[in-house]
């Protein structure tokens, strides 16, 4: 187990280093002069020179990269050029919206997909199975931001159960905040729940056709008992893989959904930063999101080892 964890940890660190190089190269090196990108074509020469000094552009790219990374390791993400506030503080503020939203959506995804997937698998081929799987086909195909707009139309404008957008903030009590994240979370969760339900169903069906299930059945277990006692745990590896990938889609997808509901999360921040050409903010937020994706994948791989003890010794 320790060796497995160490190998995974090494590859985690290597991925993060590589990712930071890619992000730094794409945003700070590829476009040529970041200062002129940020200030636009009509910038005065002395303003440009001042910004170049502020960004440390007189240093070599490698030197700037090291400064950037070591800053981030110490929690210093630089200072936003447009807002003149530390990027770290902005990110912490925005995460109070984006992280709960992603977790909320993930919880909904699992809460919908597990029962649906297990139910469909246990009634394979029945009318219920076929119609539920048909519904998930629709769920996979629906663009989540469009679904979000339709929900706003029905539940916010017509029925007035929810507000059409904005975030109540956590200071007013968690209930209000959770309420303002509910429609966005449903919009994010629906396509992912459809995908996960399909994966759950097919993973279960694959496992149910294996020899050890036949043995269990031969020993007198009903199909349902075999499913719950033996198949479910064995079907978890593909399901966990997908959940891990989905969390990163939920975090990144939140960027778009936050725009539908005018939520002050990382998504809004990143688009405001893009239109203001605030490269420092863009760079840090992208790095943070990639960090989250890589981190989640790492945790998923550790989770494999808990679910499937064979993996602990194999590597």
């Amino acid at each position: 187990m320790l060796r497995y964890t160490l190998t995974r940890l090494t590859s985690l660190i290597l991925s993060l280093v590589a990712a930071s190089v890619v992000i730094f190269a794409a945003i700070e090196v590829l476009p040529g002069d970041p200062a002129s990108v940020m200030l636009g074509v009509n910038a005065q020469e002395d303003t440009l020179a001042a910004l170049r000094t502020e960004l440390g552009l007189d240093q070599a790219p490698a030197e700037r990269y090291v400064t950037w990374v070591s800053g981030m390791v110490h929690g210093d993400f630089g200072v936003s050029y447009t807002y003149r506030t530390p990027v770290a503080q902005m990110i912490v503020d925005r995460l109070q919206v984006s992280l709960p939203l992603a977790l909320y959506a993930l919880a909904l995804t699992v809460l919908i997909a597990f029962p649906v997937g297990i139910w469909a698998a246990s009634r394979r081929g029945s009318v219920a199975d076929v119609s539920v799987m048909g519904l998930t086909q629709l769920g996979v195909a629906v663009p989540n931001f469009w679904f979000a707009m339709l929900m706003v139309l029905v539940f916010a404008i017509n029925l007035q159960w929810f507000s059409a957008g904005g975030f109540a903030g956590w200071s007013e009590g968690p209930l209000l905040a959770i309420k303002s994240l509910t429609l966005p979370a449903i919009a994010l969760a629906l396509p992912q729940a459809s995908i996960l339900a399909r994966v759950m169903r097919s993973a279960l069906l694959d496992t149910l056709s294996e020899d050890f299930i036949r043995t269990a059945r031969a020993k007198g277990l009903t199909r349902r008992q075999a499913l719950w006692r033996h198949a479910l745990r064995n079907a978890m590896i593909p399901v966990l893989t997908i959940i891990g990938m989905q969390f990163s889609f939920l975090l990144a997808g939140g960027i778009i959904i936050e725009n539908v509901f005018y939520l002050p999360g990382l998504g809004r921040l990143i688009f405001q930063a893009i239109s203001a050409r605030d490269l420092i903010v863009v760079e840090s937020v992208v790095m943070l999101l990639v960090f989250a994706v890589v981190m989640v994948n790492f945790l998923v791989e550790l989770a494999y080892a808990f679910v499937d003890p064979r993996l602990r010794v194999r590597r």
């Binding site: 290597l14 945003i27 931001f145 707009m149 339709l150 990163s248 778009i256 725009n259 893009i274 490269l279």
Partner: protein, 290 residues
Amino acid sequence: MSEPSLSPAQTPSTLRIVLRSRSLILGLVLTLTFVAAALISFVWVPYDIATLDIANKIKGPSGAHWLGTDHYGRDIASMIMQGARTSIAVAVLAVGIGMLIGVPLGLWAAARRGSLLDEVIMRTNDLVFAFPSLLIAVMITSAFGPSATNAIIAIGIFNIPVFARLTRSSALSLWQRDYILAARVAGKGAARISWEHILPNITNMMIVQGTIQFSLGILAEAGLSYVGLGAQPPTPSWGRMLADSQTFISFAPHMALFPGLAILLTVLGLNLMGDGLRDLFDPKLRRGRT
């Protein structure tokens, strides 16, 4: 093919299987409808969307405008037809990038299984996989500004590891087969074996995956242009139509309804087609069905 096949008397003809597969038929019909709409829009659309007709702005569906008009009085049906072009072009090119780079990389990695090269290719793939296409688009846009080309590149880059992984894993199992051994004994090199024996045997799988990535590409393009990272005005695109409609949704829901339905039906069609094709190509599943 080395797959054990049924005797001719038991094997239904391909056409019959296609006709029997409802999802394949429905998928084909939906997909072809939108491809046709895109193609027809090159020669004919109900209304010219370059001319604004403010007198008729935000009108619901009617005999004159089947799907209504938008806030500039433009015909929504015509815009959806032309938007189909953008969606299809972006998705096709993005899948093309993914395949043209991903498949050779996967073949190469499989041919040099276990080598440093294999390791490097696959670790790089993992790295690219950590960047959702939206983040790639964000990075490219912040450096070079928004455009449909950047959307294509962003979605295309995201597709590369998808194809590389699938190609490698399918190629690896093919390399174990006897006929590959025979080809090696006959003195063929890895590149020639990959080209002559591996590639033809994974084509079906690539078509199925290509269909799925195509549908994901349509969704991604819509999302990117919705947030302004995709096609720029005046190029019509479904995602931007939805973004435009948002302000008017309380009193003109038709402006949001139809472009969204266009995306939904196209993606649904492609997914059904992908499922249908997979059943068609996979003899194991075929036997289970018949």
